[in-house]
Symmetry: C2
Subunit: 653 residues, 2 copies
C-alpha cells in the first residue's frame, strides 16, 4: 500500500496558527490570563471546600475580560458571542470552574439576556458579569429533563396583586440538578407553565415561560416559600453546587417575567409576538443554544488535554524488551497503543475544525439575525449544534476512558488528571440535552429539511410530515462547498488503486452513507404516516436507523469542516500533516462503520480489509509526530500537571 | 422473521438456582451474612476516614467464614478455593472492601500460602485470616508493571549474617500502587531479583523470588530502611490505601524467603525443584492466578448491580408522550434504551456461566493437582483466566458507563451508585494484568498449543515456535463437548431460513471465526520466525490480529459455557428464557463483529442485516422480563441503595 507523504516535521507555530483560527486573539489573551493566576482544580478537597474554592475562582474570573466577552455592549460587554464560547472552552483543566462559569454567565446570564428585555438587562447584567449576583437556570425537573415541554412547575398570574404565583405541584416537579442552587445562587431563571385567568376564571395556559425568582437572600437564607436542597456528591464536578428547588406559592411581581417572547398586562391579558405555544417555546429554547455549543467545545478541550497526557506518557514509557535491539520499547511504538490513541487524535482535529465552524456560524447569525429572514439558518444551526454536541461529548467519554487505560495504573491516580477529566466530563453526554435525544432532533431536521422548528413536530408529526413531503435526500454541503464538489467530482472510481487516500473518494463514501441511510429512514417512517401501523411502533422500530442517519450526517459535516480547515492552511508542511490526519479521521471512521459499507456493497471485502491496513499504516507514520501534534492544540500550560506528562515521574524518558 | 418462543414468565427461584450453581451454599451463606451487618461504602468520606472505615469492615469480615474459605484446612481454613472466589465477588457493592480483602487474603495470604512453606504458614496464616497481621503484595514497580520479569528490586544473600539484603536500586524500582502500603500493611511479600554470591564473589542471579519483609511496626512506624509513601487519591477505590515502598539495604533473615520453589542454604547455595529462571518464575506466577479469577468475578458482580439499577430505573422512568395512547412512555420501551442495556444483560449471563466454569476448573485443579501431570491443564487454566479477566473487565467498564448514561442526570449522582461503581471498577482492566497484555498471553497459548508455559516464550520465541511447530488450529471444545458437537453437526446450512436462531449455527460462526483468525496470525508470525524480516516489526504489525485471535477464542469459550449452563437447567421455563438470552448474546456478539464476518464472506450482506434485526427483535421480546432477569442474579439486597432503583425517587412508577 502506498501511503501519501508525511512531512518530516512541522513548525508548531504554523499548526497552532491554523488551529487557533478566527478567535486566535481571544485564545492568546486567555492563555496569558491563565498564566497570571493558578486556578487549581479541587482534587482532595471535600465538597464544601471545593465549592468555595471554585466560587472564589469564579469571582476572580469575573474580574477578567472573560465574562464580558459574550454580553451586549450596551451593558459593558463586548458582544463577541464566538469569543465567549472559545474563552470558556479554554477552562478545560478545571471543569468545575468552567461549568460554574457556564451556569452563571452562559445559562443564567444568557437566558436573562435572550429572554428578558431592557428592564431586566439594565437591572441585572452588570452584577451577573461580576458575580455579585450569582444565579441559577432552573429548567430541568425531577420528572422531566429531556421532554421540557412537559415541565410541571406553574406560574399563575394574579391580577389582584399584579403578581405571578410560582408553584411546585408535586415532588416530581421539583427543579433538579440545578447548578448554583445548593449554595450560592440568589436569583433563578425559573421555567414554568405560564397561566392567566381565563374568561371563566379557570387558568389558561400559554406554555413554558421563564421568570426571575429570588431563591436566597444575601445571608444565604432561602427566600420565603422556597425550599432548597442539595444533590450531594456527583461522579465529578463537585465544585459545582447542584441542588433542588421547590416553590410553595412563591409570589413575584409581574415584571419578573422575562417578557421578550410573551408578556402579561396588568389586567391579565397575555400577548406574544409569536403565535402558537410550541413555536414560542422552541423559539425561546433556540436562543439558548450557546450552552450546547460551549459544552461541545469544552468536551473537545478536555479530550485534547487527556490525549496530551496519554501521548506524552506513551512516548516516554517503555515496557518489554525488543529482542532485536535489547532495548525496552516505548509503548507508543506498539500498534495496539497507537490504535488506542492516534485515530482519536485525528478525530479531535476533525472536531476542532467542526467546532470552529459551528462557533463562527453561531456568532455571525446571532450578531446579525437579519441574515436569516425565514429562520432556516437558525434551525440548521440548532441541528448542527445538537449533533456536534452529541458527537463531541461521546468522543470525549470514549477517548478519555481510552487514555486512562492506556496509562495503566498511573492513569488511575488522581495526580495524573485523567480520573478527574473522565469523571468531570462524564455528564456532558447528558446535560444540555441527552445525546440520544439530540441525535433524534438532528434526524428530524434532516427529514423535514428544517421546515418549521423541528422540535415542534413530535414523533407522529415528523412521521406525517415525512409521509407527505419528503421527496429524497439532498446533500447540502456545509463548508468549502466548491472545493468539496471538485474533490468529489475528481474522485477516481472505486476500483482504482490507492483510492483510499483520495479525499474525494472519502467524501463520497460519507455522502453516500448519509444519503442512503436517510432515504431508508424516510421510507420506513412513511409507513407511520400512512396510517397502516401504530405510529409509535413504526418510529420505535426504526429508532436505531434514525440515530444512524443523524450520526452519518454529522460525520459528513465534520469531514467537510476538516477539508475546509486544511484549505485555509497556507503552510505546506502543516497542510501536509493535516492531510494525513484527515486521512486517518476519514478512514478510521469508515473502518468503524465498515459493516455498514459492506452490507450496502459500498466496500468490497478486499477493500474493507485495506481500510484496516491503511489505518494501521497511518498510525505508524504519524506516531513520531504524535506529541507535537497534540501540543499544537495550545492547551494552556497551567492545566498540564500530571507527573507522567511533565517528566516528573521516575523511569520515564 | 420468526423469533423462537419467549416463556410468558419464569420462576425466579428456578433461575436463581441455575445461576447460583455449584457454590449455591456459599452464595446463600454470604447473602445471609450480608444481611446481618451494614457495610456501607465510603461515599462522602474523606480519604483517611474512608480507609479507616474499610479497614474496620475488613476486620469485621475477618471474623466471619469468608477469609477461612480459601485457606488450607491445616491452619483453620476450609480449603474451598472456588467458594472463596465466589464469596469475594459478592462484595461488589463495596468495592474498596472487596479489593482490601483481596489484597489481604487473596494476594498477600495467597502468595504466602502458595510460595511459602510450612514455617511461613504456621507462623502467619491465622493472623492473616483474622487481619491481626495486615499485609502487602509488593510486586509492581514504577518502572515495571506488565513486564514483571524485569523487576529491579534486589535481594542479595549475605552468608556472613545469614540474611538477605533487600534494596531498591533506583527510583523506577520503587514498589508502586501497593495495596495496604500507605497505612495498614505491616508485612510485605516482596518480589525481588534473588542473588547469591557467585564463585568469583560477584552476585549470581536466580530470577524473581518473593520474601517476607516487615515494613511497619505495630505502632505504624516504618521499619528501619523502609520508606513508605502514599499514592494519594485515585479515580476510585479510595478506601484502599495504595502506596509506594522503597528499601534501603533492608536486612531480613534467610528464612524470610518464601522457599517453595527456590531456597538458599546457609552457605549461600541456591537450589530449586524447577530448572530455569523463567520456568521457575512463571510457575510461581501460575500459583497466583486466583486473584485474576477473582477480579473477573467481581467485575461481573459489579456489572450485574449496575444493570439492576439501570433496568429498574428504565422500567419505571417515563419520558415523552406516546401520541397514540396519551401516556408517557417508559424509557425501556424505546429501542435505543433496550439496545444499550439488554445485549449487555445477555452478555452478563454468558460471562456468569463462563466464570462459574473457570472457578470450577481452578478449584478442581488446585484441590487435586495430581490430575495434571504434565501441567497442560494448568496452562490452559492460566490462559482462560487471563482471557476471561480481560473480557469481563472490559464488559464491566463499557456496561457500567452505558448504565450511567442510560440513567441521565440521575446516573451522575453518587447516591445512585453508578458513579462509584464506574470509578471503582475502572482499574480492573489494568490491575492483575493489563488486559491487552493478557490477551496476548491467550494468543500465545493458542499458537503454542500450551506447550511450555506460554509466558516463557517471548515475542521472538513465540514466533520461532510458530514457524517450527504450528500445524493448524484445532478447536478444542471446553464445555459440554458432546452437546456442542451435536449442535454444530446438526446446524442447517447457512442459506436456510431462520438459521440465526440455531444454536449450532451460532457455535459454528464462533468456531470458524476463531479458526480463521488464528490460522491467519500463525501465517503472519511464521515470517518473523523465518528470519526474512525484523521479528519485532512482524509481530507488531500483526498485534491487532493477535488480539483479535485471543478475543475470538474467549468469545467461543464463553458461548460454550452458556450452552453448557442451559443444558444443566432442568426447569423448562427457565431454560427457555436462558435460550433467548443466549441467542441475544451470540447474535449481538456477531453483530458487533459483523464487519469481520462480511469481510471473510461468512455472512452475506442480507444475512448481516438480518442479524441486526434479530437483535432488535430479541430486545423487544425480552424487555418485559428485564427486571426479573437481572434480579435473578441474586445480588445481596444491602448493595441496592440507589433511590432510582428502590422506588424512593419521586416520579418513578
Amino acid at each position: 500500500m502506498r501511503i501519501p507523504r508525511v512531512p518530516a516535521g512541522v513548525d508548531p507555530t504554523e499548526l497552532r496558527g491554523v488551529l487557533d483560527g478566527r478567535w486566535a486573539g481571544v485564545r492568546r489573551r486567555v492563555r496569558e490570563l491563565l498564566e497570571s493566576e493558578r486556578l487549581p482544580p479541587g482534587d482532595g478537597l471535600d465538597t464544601e471546600q471545593h465549592r468555595e474554592r471554585v466560587f472564589e475562582q469564579l469571582r476572580w474570573l469575573g474580574g477578567s475580560e472573560v465574562p464580558a466577552l459574550g454580553f451586549p455592549t450596551e451593558y459593558g460587554g463586548h458582544g463577541d458571542r464566538g469569543g465567549s464560547v472559545v474563552a470558556m472552552e479554554m477552562l478545560a483543566g478545571n471543569l468545575s470552574l468552567m461549568v460554574k462559569a457556564g451556569v452563571q454567565w452562559g445559562l443564567f446570564g444568557g437566558a436573562l439576556t435572550a429572554l428578558g428585555t431592557e428592564r431586566h438587562h439594565r437591572r441585572h447584567l452588570s452584577s451577573v458579569m461580576d458575580v455579585s449576583l450569582p444565579g441559577c437556570f432552573a429548567m430541568t425537573e425531577t420528572g422531566h429533563g429531556s421532554d421540557v415541554q412537559r415541565l410541571a412547575t406553574t406560574a399563575d398570574f394574579d391580577p389582584e396583586t399584579d403578581e405571578f404565583v410560582v408553584h411546585t405541584p408535586d415532588e416530581a416537579a421539583r427543579k433538579d440538578y440545578i447548578g448554583n442552587a445548593a449554595r450560592h445562587g440568589r436569583l433563578a431563571v425559573v421555567f414554568a407553565q405560564l397561566r392567566t385567568p381565563g374568561a371563566d376564571g379557570s387558568p389558561e395556559g400559554h406554555g413554558v415561560h421563564a421568570l426571575l425568582v429570588p431563591i436566597r437572600d444575601e445571608a444565604g437564607n432561602p427566600a420565603p416559600g422556597v425550599t432548597l436542597s442539595d444533590c450531594g456528591r456527583k461522579a465529578g464536578l463537585n465544585g459545582v453546587d447542584n441542588g433542588r428547588i421547590v416553590f410553595d406559592h412563591v409570589r413575584v411581581p409581574r415584571e419578573a417575567l422575562l417578557n421578550r417572547y410573551g408578556d402579561v398586562s396588568p389586567d391579565g391579558t397575555y400577548s406574544s409576538p409569536i403565535d402558537g405555544v410550541n413555536k414560542r417555546f422552541f423559539t425561546m429554547l433556540g436562543t439558548l443554544i450557546t450552552g450546547r455549543v460551549s459544552v461541545a467545545g469544552t468536551a473537545g478541550s478536555a479530550t485534547k488535554l487527556a490525549l496530551e497526557i496519554a501521548l506524552r506518557y506513551s512516548d516516554a514509557r517503555r515496557q518489554f524488551e525488543n529482542p532485536g535491539t535489547g532495548q525496552e520499547t516505548p509503548v507508543l511504538d506498539y500498534l495496539a497503543q497507537q490504535r488506542r490513541l492516534l485515530p482519536a487524535l485525528a478525530t479531535s482535529y476533525a472536531l476542532h475544525f467542526a467546532q470552529e465552524e459551528l462557533v463562527s456560524t453561531l456568532h455571525d447569525l446571532h450578531t446579525d439575525p437579519g441574515r436569516d429572514p425565514d429562520g432556516r439558518a437558525q434551525r440548521e444551526l440548532e441541528s448542527r449544534a445538537a449533533g456536534i454536541k452529541a458527537v463531541a461529548t461521546w468522543h470525549a467519554t470514549r477517548t478519555i476512558q481510552e487514555c486512562r487505560e492506556a496509562c495503566g495504573g498511573a492513569g488511575y491516580l488522581t495526580e495524573n488528571q485523567l480520573a478527574t477529566l473522565k469523571a468531570d466530563t462524564d455528564v456532558f453526554t447528558t446535560f444540555e440535552g441527552d445525546n440520544t435525544v439530540l441525535l433524534q432532533l438532528v434526524a428530524k431536521g434532516l427529514l423535514t429539511n428544517y421546515r418549521g422548528r423541528f422540535e415542534e413536530l413530535g414523533t407522529l408529526g415528523m412521521a406525517r410530515y415525512v409521509a407527505d413531503q419528503f421527496v429524497g435526500t439532498v446533500i447540502e454541503r456545509t463548508a468549502a462547498r466548491s472545493l468539496v464538489q471538485r474533490l468529489v467530482d475528481a474522485a477516481p472510481n472505486r476500483d482504482e488503486e490507492d483510492v483510499l487516500f483520495d479525499r474525494g473518494w472519502q467524501l463520497r463514501m460519507f455522502e453516500e452513507r448519509e444519503r442512503h441511510v436517510l432515504d431508508g429512514v424516510a421510507r420506513r417512517l412513511r409507513r407511520a404516516g400512512s396510517g397502516e401501523a401504530d405510529p409509535f411502533e413504526v418510529f420505535n422500530e426504526a429508532q436505531d436507523h434514525v440515530l444512524r442517519a443523524a450520526r452519518a450526517h454529522i460525520d459528513r459535516v465534520v469531514l467537510e469542516a476538516f477539508v475546509a480547515g486544511i484549505d485555509r492552511c497556507t503552510d505546506p508542511e502543516a497542510a501536509g500533516m493535516l492531510e494525513r490526519l484527515c486521512d486517518l479521521y476519514a478512514l478510521s471512521n469508515i473502518e468503524n462503520d465498515r459493516a455498514w459499507f459492506l452490507e450496502h456493497e459500498r466496500l468490497s471485502p478486499g477493500r474493507a480489509k485495506s481500510v484496516v491496513q491503511a489505518v494501521n499504516a497511518l498510525c505508524a507514520r504519524l506516531r513520531p509526530h504524535a506529541v507535537r501534534l497534540v501540543e499544537a492544540f495550545g492547551t494552556p500550560r497551567q492545566w498540564l500537571t500530571a507527573p507522567i506528562a511533565t517528566g516528573e515521574q521516575p523511569g520515564l524518558g
